[in-house]
Amino acid sequence: MPTSIRQSPGARVGLSIAVATGLYGVSFGALSVASGLTVWQTQALSLLLFSGGSQFAFIGVIAGGGTPVAAASAAALLGIRNAVYGMQLNVLLHPRGWRRLAAAQVTIDESLATSTGQTDPLEQRRGFWVAGIGIFVLWNLFTLIGSLAGDALGDPKRWGLDGAAVAAFLALLWPRLRSRDAGAIAAACALATILAVPFVPPGVPILVAAVVAAAVGWFGYRAGPDGEGLEPDIDPYPDTVQTERTDPS
């Protein structure tokens, strides 16, 4: 007998992750208008791009004076991991027809983590859809609240919003630094960025770092039992989602 949706562990985890993740849409909204996007442009990113890392990347490049082309490139590169997630979810959920399009749109770090954190196929499906749709609704709602509030704040520097952007990127990076290799790649790309800043237009240093990261990933590849902590599906809420993970240290 399948459990009812009320007692479903997948739906419960999905809901708690939806609330936690949806709330920080407020920081995206505020930072996006501070970087110079309008409320409508900000909302378009949350509705249509809908992938936190890519959205923060887009506005991060714009805020640093980069061109819209560089911003779109950074967003596109950060979204590549979603293709890998889609492949994993397709195997788990087999969505068909319009459901496949809907599943693709809500394929993000958190919905993947919720789904793969469950063992029962029904719970994997419930977890994915509750987390995916829940985050989509709340993320968009809180983006709007954040962008309207950000619009009213005035000078973003006075409120430390440039510091908030730095903190947001570090918080997105942090849970992925679970192995020595991951730390080394982060350090190499940080250094490449600093070295590139004086010589190329704003936004381009991020693409230079992407080339370094891709080269390390491609040429540094060793066949092994796991990805040495570099697999793209990092569980953003290890305390909420019940998954077994080995400690990297």
């Binding site: 936690a20 993740t21 709330l23 920080y24 407020v26 378009a44 990113l45 791009l49 887009f58 714009i62 640093g64 819209p68 911003a71 779109a72 950074a74 596109a76 590169l77 950060l78 590549i80 991991r81 979603n82 293709a83 997630y85 889609g86 979810l89 693709a104 749109q105 394929t107 430390g160 919003l161 440039d162 510091g163 908030a164 952007a165 730095v166 903190a167 990127f169 918080a171 997105l172 990076l173 942090w174 992925r176 982060a186 940080a190 490449a192 600093i194 800043v197 010589f199 704003p202 240093p205 992407a210 990261a213 891709a214 390390v216 990933g217 491609w218 590849y221 570099l230 697999e231 793209p232």
Partner: protein, 103 residues
């Protein structure tokens, strides 16, 4: 108008990337090397965005209140603070250091 255009491009590319995973034969992306590149790209881009937003102002390297925000955010993350708290700590550190007179 150019900004709108590239926002739409980013959104279309982002959606097609997600959809690609559901459409291509499994073995293409199940390749461990491809998965590894997706992982290293994500780490590298986020590290680069963190640093660029901390020290870059146009094409100049600048040390200002944003560096304090980075340190404060790292401490908050080390203490296992949730995402939104980390962001607020970063903003408070930068705003506070500016009140003290830092650029």
């Amino acid at each position: 108008m150019t900004l709108w255009f590239w926002i739409v491009v980013a959104c279309v590319v982002g959606f097609l990337t997600k959809l690609l995973g559901y459409l291509v034969p499994r073995k293409w992306l199940a390749n461990a090397r491809v998965a590894r590149v997706a992982g290293t790209l994500t780490i590298g881009l986020l590290a680069s965005l963190t640093v660029a937003n901390t020290v870059a102002t146009g094409q100049q390297l600048v040390l200002d209140a944003r560096l304090g925000a980075l340190v404060a955010a790292a401490v908050a993350l080390w203490l296992k603070a949730p995402f939104l708290v980390v962001v607020i700590v970063g903003a408070a550190a930068a705003a506070g250091l500016r009140l003290l007179g830092l650029p």
